[in-house]
Amino acid sequence: MRAAEDRDPAGLGTARAIGFVAPALLLVGLFLVFPALWTLYIGITDYQLTGPAAAEPSVVGLDNFATALDDPLFANSLWLTALFVLGSAVVGQNVLGFALAWLLRRVRPALRRTVEGFVLLAWILPGPVVAYLWFAVLSRDGGTLGLLLGRPETAWLVEYPMVSLIVFNIWRGTAFSLLLYTSALAAVPPSHLETARLAGAGGWQTVRDVVFPHIRGHVLTNTLLISLWTANDFTPFLLTAGGPNHESEVLPVLIYRQALESGQLGYASAMSLLLLFGNLVVALVYLRLLRRRA
């Protein structure tokens, strides 16, 4: 609060302070700001990876965007991305994360640590490894799921690609929601919970009437963040690479395939812009929430 708090307690001086910030800003500028702005430009050209348009790209205006709007693959991808975000993040990770945080509140510490340990491990293991683990579980050559359900010949990733991706991403990402809700629940005053118990409220009533009002902000924060990460997640590429026949081609995978496999850099950029714009909207809402709480 005191104005003195901003007055350089270490005697660093503005010039040296700018010197301290400069290296970080240089990298951020070069590898985040510049690419983001450049996307705008590449998005209105016919830039290609190979061929004549690779050497001399020309500006084609909004053609790429018009093409995208007419492209059934793009519409398909938007739909699949929405499904992926809604199913695995907004509903899946959110609900499972909260349920675990709530249920594990009062179990024995050893059990709680075990469950938390596995959930966190799923989050921490490298993406290519977990993708392979699930590739194995869902494999048609004696994968664990097929063995368990007595259908060893089923190619789950081919027959149910989106469901597989959604289940996979719930498994992969629930840890964040679990951590966030655990700390949120710890902040609910025990006296409120006890009041509910004295009033004879059941578990569900307690959650609805006492817990939820306290953690509403956390629910929103959590939903925004995990949605943003899920929409930008490239791991589906490792599991299904968009297949079979574009049935699981979420936006990041489509962008990659258009850019690097088909070489349509301009067109892919135009689609990236949409992702950037979606991210921006979510991030702005998130920052507004943060600011209001602060």
Binding site: A3, A4, D6, R7, P9, G11
Partner: protein, 351 residues
């Protein structure tokens, strides 16, 4: 050893607030000096300006005979104890105390030696290898003092030295601090918002408000003859009675009574009569009122009278002399204990 001289110092914050406003002050060599005032009065900023942590927008700071206004904090010959003590949590008590020597690259053996010497004088010898987190509040305070002493500075600056201690420990630490300062005879400036602390500790007090000094004097002067109504209100554990009055025939009329007043006032001049509750006693004539509350203060009691015109007047009475509630009581002050203030600017009128 050195005195501190502050001439025309103004310290302005980036947001334009003048925390210290064209202030002059002289702290004599070896003196224990208090900067007293409510929060936001600029006392801490003034202390930080002396330390060199704030750069004044105008004026000069002189320590000894050196103009230190443009010198960085480390080269002014000052040591400072912060309100939160700022003991480095990753260092032991010994390392903390020896820190000023470490900065000057003194040999390790010399550092250790200095630390144990200082610790002896502060009864911290057994705690040299502890970390600040393992010390009690009083021990932390002494460790911080030890570090300041070890710096061998000419001037010691203390920011709210007792405010982080609980009430009982505070008294003990106060006595300790006064003796330590006396033994070292080190010029010491401390900041406090607690008037009792300033009265008890300081040789002289500057009462500050809005970046200026309202009164400068010994504790006795400040207590007995506050220079204006602000100081009168601020000093004293029971607030001074400040009653609106009017001058008439060399007397003042207040609270339905007629009291001897200062000479040379035009009839009808509005003024304020101030008298400490401690200086009022039952008398044959004076201010009369009905006893409305009696508050036990331990060895004395604070009695509040409701005067006929509704003015409340309070006085202290020795224990077992408390009047009954509802009784009518007449009180007066010893000669010279009645103070008269200008009703407009609040300044003390000579008389």
């Amino acid at each position: 050893m050195a005195g501190v001289e502050i001439t025309g110092v103004s310290t302005v914050y980036p947001n334009g607030v003048r925390a210290v406003d064209a202030l002059d002050l002289r702290v004599v060599d070896g003196e224990l000096f208090a900067l007293l005032g409510p929060s936001g009065c600029g006392k801490t900023t003034l202390l930080r300006t002396i330390a060199g942590l704030e750069v004044p927008a105008a004026g000069t700071v002189t320590i000894g005979s050196r103009d230190v206004t443009r010198l960085p904090p480390g080269r002014r010959g000052v040591a400072m104890v912060f309100q939160d003590y700022a003991l480095f949590p990753h260092m032991t008590v010994a390392e903390n105390i020896a820190y000023p020597l470490r900065v000057r690259r003194a040999p390790k053996a010399r550092q250790r030696e200095a630390a144990s010497e200082v610790a002896d004088g502060l009864s911290l010898s057994g705690l040299l290898d502890r970390r600040p987190g393992q010390l009690s509040g009083g021990q932390q305070q002494r460790a911080a003092l030890g570090r300041a002493v070890a710096a061998g500075a000419d001037v010691l600056l203390l920011d709210e030295p007792l405010s982080n201690l609980d009430a009982r420990l505070r008294l003990e630490a106060r006595t300790f601090l006064k003796r330590l300062q006396h033994d070292l005879a080190l010029t010491t400036v401390f900041v406090t918002h607690d008037q009792a602390e300033a009265l008890a500790l300081a040789d002289r007090i500057a009462v500050m408000e809005s970046g200026r000094i309202r009164q400068l004097g010994t504790p006795r002067e400040v207590f007995q003859r506050p220079a204006d109504t602000f100081v009168a209100n601020f000093i004293g554990s029971t607030p001074m009675n400040l009653v609106e009055a009017t001058a008439r025939d060399g007397h003042v009329e207040c609270a339905g009574a007629r009291l001897p007043g200062p000479p040379g006032l035009v009839d009808g001049t509005p003024l304020v009569v101030g008298v400490r509750p401690e200086y009022l006693a039952p008398a044959d004539d004076g201010i009369t009122g009905v006893v409305s509350t009696v508050e036990n203060l331990g060895v004395s009691s604070l009695v509040t009278l409701d005067c006929p015109d509704g003015t409340p007047i309070s006085l202290t009475v020795p224990e077992q002399h408390e009047p009954a509630l509802g009784r009518t009581l007449t009180v007066n002050a010893a000669p010279g204990r009645l103070l008269f203030y200008d009703a407009e600017d609040g300044g003390l009128l000579d008389g």
